[in-house]
């Protein structure tokens, strides 16, 4: 072959020494730079966190497991769970209502979602807590007719119920939008098939549509839970103590703001990390049967390789 032409032999098939298996790694200059920069930044942040006396780590340690902090944390988590459960239930109903055939119901749900999405939760909390100012007694009765029962508003609405009502309604409005998007993502053929088999609307919605919508519903719901967890700090306006409030009470007394805020941040990060892990598991659960496992794996791997 070598003597066929005067040009240098470019056909390198003989050169078996060229083999990707023995290739050196290329040093990517920008990767080295970025890597070093990231390492330096990490070290600097660590040094800054550890050595800066103003963070007052001993104080952080002292208060991290302080009973009132833990109680505040418990209250935050409890309100988040209750708000999320009630919000999701009501949100599901509102999502279904927004897609309902019956126009007055549909409009009522759309307006409800619009209003509670727009009103700041702080204002809502103040409103519910002080409902008695506007409406001293809550009555059940014939509208514009006689009252059947009535109670003093303040007996029904304690700070806790006010907090739960306010946060749940707010969550419900956001969850309604998330769930509606999920429902719309389910192929209409699924509903057709369920109807054709004579499933009741309830059966079709709860067993066919919702489980398939979950894949789309879960990720934004995760963010929503985290936002609610942090949003529980608003309840301090109505005489309730959550995590942030419990550290505020302490630093209002001691004036040690920075270490106490660190205590709160540490707990928030712990809970958020735990939540994120749970979310990943739930996501995996609901993607069962929705794709062939192998296909999903490939997509992810390629994405990582190309991005």
């Amino acid at each position: 072959m070598t003597d066929l032409t005067t040009q240098p032999v470019r056909n390198p098939s003989a050169d078996r020494s060229i083999d990707a298996a023995r290739a050196r790694r290329r040093i990517h200059p920008w990767r080295v730079v970025v890597g070093i920069l990231l390492a330096l930044v990490t070290v600097q942040i660590a040094v800054f966190l550890v050595t800066n006396e103003r963070f007052d780590w001993p104080v952080v340690g002292e208060y991290l497991f302080n009973p009132s902090v833990l109680m505040g944390l418990g209250m935050s988590i409890m309100l988040t769970i209750v708000g999320m459960v009630l919000g999701s239930l009501l949100g599901t109903a509102l999502a279904a209502g927004q897609l309902a055939e019956f126009a007055p119901l549909r409009w009522a749900c759309i307006v409800f979602v619009g209003v509670f999405r727009g009103v700041p939760p702080l204002v809502q909390l103040i409103f519910w807590y002080n409902l008695a100012y506007l409406l001293p007694r809550l009555a059940v009765g014939v509208p514009f007719g006689p009252e059947l029962f009535s109670w003093p508003t303040n007996d029904l609405i304690t700070p806790l119920t006010a907090a739960i009502i306010g946060l749940s309604l707010h969550e419900a409005a956001y969850m309604a939008e998330i769930i509606r998007a999920g429902i719309l993502s389910v192929d209409s053929g699924q509903r057709d098939a369920a109807a054709a088999m004579g499933f009741s609307r309830w059966h079709s919605f709860t067993r066919v549509v919702l489980p398939q919508a979950m894949r789309v519903i879960i990720p934004p719901t995760g963010s929503q839970v985290i936002a609610l967890l942090k949003g529980t700090s608003l309840v301090s306006v109505i005489a309730m103590g959550d995590l942030l409030h419990s550290v505020q009470v302490i630093y209002n007394r001691t004036y040690e703001v920075v270490p106490m805020l660190l205590v709160a941040v540490i707990w928030y990060l712990v809970v958020v990390t735990a939540l994120t892990l749970v979310q990943r598991r739930v996501e995996r659960h609901f993607s069962k049967g929705m794709s062939r496992a192998a296909v999903a794996r490939r997509v992810v791997e390629r994405t990582e390789a190309v991005a």
Binding site: G189, D192, A193, A195, A196, M197, H203, R207, G289, R292
Partner: protein, 269 residues
């Protein structure tokens, strides 16, 4: 009950049915009947209203005019004073349960196993005991050649397998009539025959069926009668052999020659 007078009362009767989507008239006075154990093929160009017709029969869409009867019972409406009024939801469901439907896109429930896809309706809707429903489902799966796929999820099956499961699911509730909307037209060609074979077996076992299809061979050899639709109307409705060998209208004639010239399947437009 219907056994006695099958020769008299058709299983399904469609009388002057109209369906409109806004200004668009999808069905414009459709009349036809299906008798017990009859297989009726519905043919026609795209947009002629074939899907709309079977969806209306199965009450997935409401109708704007005319009437339909299943075993002589008015579908979707009830007599009320001197006229009629829509049925309640629950009554519509009860009527839907007496029909079975197989869709072009299969529409299996992807989050359930094949077995649950088939047994859900018998157990939850018809109140069949779980064990019995399961035994029957396995028997049906066996009949469609998928006995070993009971525990698979639908997305793990090929298109032809999915469609056979969908047929088993529709049959599992012992419907009076089975409706098929182009059951083979989203299948890869090699998979078509296995599904058509299952449908042929069903026809031979005496199932009453309406089949919207582009498979002329199937229509000719399996269907008792063929209905040709165009522009939302029934143009011809005749026994299969006459239909193919002596089409009356020019529209049907051009349809048959055009469809026979290109392969029997439509572009997946």
């Amino acid at each position: 009950m219907t056994g006695q007078n099958t020769s008299v009362t058709p299983v399904l009767q469609v009388v002057g049915v109209r369906k409109e989507y806004g200004d668009n008239v999808a069905l414009d006075g459709v009349d036809f009947e299906v008798h017990a154990q009859e297989v009726v093929a519905v043919l026609g160009p795209s947009g002629s209203g074939k899907s709309t017709l079977v969806r209306c029969i199965d009450q997935l869409e409401s109708i704007e005019g005319g009437a339909m009867y299943l075993d002589g019972e008015l579908l979707g409406y009830e007599r009320h004073r001197d006229g009629i009024r829509p049925l309640t939801d629950a009554d519509v469901k009860r009527q839907q349960r007496r029909m079975g439907m197989v869709f072009q896109q299969f529409n299996l429930f992807p989050h359930w196993t094949v077995l649950r896809n088939i047994t859900e309706a018998p157990i939850k809707v018809h109140g069949v005991p779980a064990g019995e429903a399961k035994a029957r489902a396995l028997e049906l799966l066996n009949r469609v050649g998928l006995a070993d796929k009971a525990d698979a999820h639908p997305r793990q099956l090929s298109g032809g397998q999915q469609q056979r499961v969908a047929i088993a699911r529709a049959v599992a509730t012992n419907p009076r009539i089975l409706l098929f909307d182009e059951p083979t037209s989203s299948l890869d060609p090699e998979l078509v025959d296995e599904v058509l074979q299952v449908m042929k077996d069903l026809a031979e076992s005496g199932m009453t069926m309406i089949v919207v299809t582009h498979e002329l061979d199937f229509a000719r050899h399996v269907a008792d009668r063929c209905v040709f639709m165009a522009d939302g109307q029934v143009i011809e409705d005749r026994p299969s052999t006459e239909f193919f060998d002596a089409p009356r209208s020019t529209r049907l004639r051009t349809f048959l020659t055009r469809t026979a010239a290109t392969p029997a399947r439509e572009v997946g437009a």
